[in-house]
Symmetry: C2
Subunit: 357 residues, 2 copies
Amino acid sequence: MKIKQFQQGLKKKKIDFAVFYNLDSMNYDKDISYFSGYKGIGILIIPKNKKPFLIVPEMEYGRAKNKIKVYKWAKKKRLFEFASYVINKNKIKKKNIGINKNVFTLNVHKAFKKNFKKIKVVDISELCEKIREIKTDEEIKKIKKACSITDKLFSQLINNLKNKKIKTEIDISNFLETEAKKYNCELAFKPIVASGKGSSIPHYEAQNIKLRKGFLVLDLGVKYQDYNSDITRTVYIGKPTKKETQMYGFLLKIQKNTIKEIKINEKCSKIYDNVKKELKNYSKNFTHGLGHGIGIKVHELPNLTENTKDRIQKNMVFTIEPGIYFENRFGIRIEDTVLMKNKAIRLTKTTKDLLTV
Amino acid sequence: MKIKQFQQGLKKKKIDFAVFYNLDSMNYDKDISYFSGYKGIGILIIPKNKKPFLIVPEMEYGRAKNKIKVYKWAKKKRLFEFASYVINKNKIKKKNIGINKNVFTLNVHKAFKKNFKKIKVVDISELCEKIREIKTDEEIKKIKKACSITDKLFSQLINNLKNKKIKTEIDISNFLETEAKKYNCELAFKPIVASGKGSSIPHYEAQNIKLRKGFLVLDLGVKYQDYNSDITRTVYIGKPTKKETQMYGFLLKIQKNTIKEIKINEKCSKIYDNVKKELKNYSKNFTHGLGHGIGIKVHELPNLTENTKDRIQKNMVFTIEPGIYFENRFGIRIEDTVLMKNKAIRLTKTTKDLLTV
């Protein structure tokens, strides 16, 4: 994806090539996967003016070979030593080398420098993040699909809650995970299923307990062909009091207005500040960011928080998720994934009326 | 876990305190979770001679507060700036500071150093890994439970394969994920379900395709109360030829003998070398390590590979997983999780006879 644009970024910064690594077979590097489709152990090199290539251990060769050009790492050399050898062989200049300093650990950097001497290292973390901030049509299509699957999952869940087929918080989490698979998806993250006073904890972990009466925060998303969605709805188990209904309506109005009023080129920090203002006395009960970009990672740029210089641009995809929390009592959060065109368009379309189950 | 032992390690290295961080709400730091039980965003400080404490943002306070002592991060200060403030307030000496250089990224290190000046940074990655190498009774209990659940899952899977209820690779993966939940577990990693020529790729990713005839490599594990298991069995779909049966028997004999002969204090690289030797002409078809420690991470110390100084010690838990792979044709791998006492004891007890389905 966007290899050419990335290479232009390298040229601007006078970087000869960028190097990415993944040494953890239980995980994959998002940059490598984004640029090459490969999700295993190895190294990706992107020269500023040549085709990118992978270097992978023999055991990974089988699943790497159909992606881009691949070198089999000869284990007699250390990994970066071999990378240096391949770079020399390909006559790639190595004076300024780009690395993602948000990913390179101190020890990997040390091993890297042993084999790349007399070079200058340039941080490309921002370049990597910025390039994914604006989504292509193909990316938007996948995120839209992820969002529409999430809407379906949500509707199935509500039916099961109404039928009393689901009894515990963990049941909800398991139900979502199992159903997501039927759409060839997996969950984007461990869903937050927070009932009763649990809802007062934004990152609550679902427990093996009977659903408590009161507000129930449901925060979930799916990963469809590597692209994520993110939605939160707060429903009510039982019958809400008038005050609770008002509180929900108060937050909902702010969430809806925020989406309605987002403008191209607007400062993200300003959107956050506006929500803080609208919350009036409850602004101190809003304890997290207003939203985040979403794509191959659940959390990408832009950041809709207090301290950010990000601005809204066309074809960004991000969340709007104000919440209010009252310690040991309850919490409410309402979140949509939206796509920025001339206006912000909701991609998650589940109703935001207060559902009771 | 093992806080005192860790603090002794700090004292030996003349480290005043260790600092751990996690800034990713989609993930948690294994060191922080191991030492404090906390799995959210924040910082853990372990002084060499005082009680450890956490520093977390307000939104995480609710789920951190019942663990160890917690400070709420006042956002007017940057995170490490606030950490420095808390450390001064607690009159903790800060001359030599321990950090895990396998975790600290270059950019986090930079932010850290801005707020901790005139200090010496000491790498504690080895200390952190070594401390988890030898398991406590409580840890062993959890891993045993994880292994016994894995055996049950495997047996259920085989029944379903025999009944022809499961038809695709992805079906197997989904079946395992769904069933694991019934034991209050999740899968330790995305299972490897590699049928036919797919089995020749050690890290094959399950596809949405009908199971191919021939060898089927099934590599799976569960996470039970944070502790992992890991097993691989290769079964056969259809009727194996005599040569295939012999090949399987050849690898199985090596796997069994390896486990039988492991001795306390033996070099892990020697165990690996022996297997290479036993494989004779097929040694080049064995393209990965022989095994790895397992615990709160699926891959821990010791490493049973070529280049390692690790030695087998009592109460280590690790895998023994020789495999042979023939490009574009087939592969066989047989893996158990074992516990080292005077001898190595198998914790995964599923039969290793060649099952046909």
